[in-house]
Symmetry: C2
Subunit: 132 residues, 2 copies
């Protein structure tokens, strides 16, 4: 279900990048939810985008749900939660530990019905809210 995530992890910090190069997938990490909300709105702003997938692991799963809910309720009312998938990924053991760790994963697929001229407004609002 999850392809290799390694390229998106900044080694020094262990944090995920906000957006992958593979479009329409947003990896949720430790940044504040509003950063990712803006990324979702930006993704939907690209013409012909009807689907955005949020991917998260471990503690970031709660943030992913926050991102989906904030986007849907405050900025893009026409957004639907299409599918939620949970899973488990095996991670290499931490330094000094022997056992591989299992970590929970989640994918939230967001879809929308196309309505032009709505996203630009949503993006401005999100940007304003973030800057507050």
């Amino acid at each position: 279900m999850f392809k290799c995530w390694a390229p998106y992890i900044t080694l020094a910090t262990g944090k995920f990048e906000t957006m992958s190069k593979e479009s329409n997938i947003i990896y949720i990490g430790r940044k504040p939810p509003m950063n990712y909300v803006l990324a979702v709105i930006t993704s939907f702003n690209v013409p012909n985008t009807k689907e955005v997938v949020l991917k998260a692991r471990g503690q970031a799963i709660s943030t992913a749900v926050d991102v989906a809910e904030i986007t849907r309720r405050r900025f893009m009312k026409e957004l639907n939660v299409d599918e939620i998938i949970i899973g488990t990924e095996e991670m290499p053991p931490r330094e000094g530990e022997n056992r591989a760790r299992n970590i929970s994963t989640m994918e939230i697929t967001l879809t929308k019905e196309a309505k032009p001229n709505e996203e630009g407004k949503a993006m401005q609002e999100a940007q304003a809210a973030k800057e507050k």
Copy 2:
């Protein structure tokens, strides 16, 4: 979607009780995931139980996913994730704050095909794992 949760919150600690009186609903709080895994297995152990719902809010959402995944992968292979619903709940403002807070919620519905004599074994295993 969420009925009143207030009766299940211990006021002094703000923690949820592991199991509600309403059967088949398990409220996920801040205890270690294995406590809730055991509660899930115990619930399925009651005759004619085909469905258990995990409910969580905020940071406990990640724990709820952990509970579903651990139960499904380690103890009850015949378990299915039937439905996952996310939502938002409005909470009264904290002391000294003015605004109501929005908190994300999640419900995971677990179902299984009935296979007698499997749950007893799963429960013993879970208890042993918890005691380690």
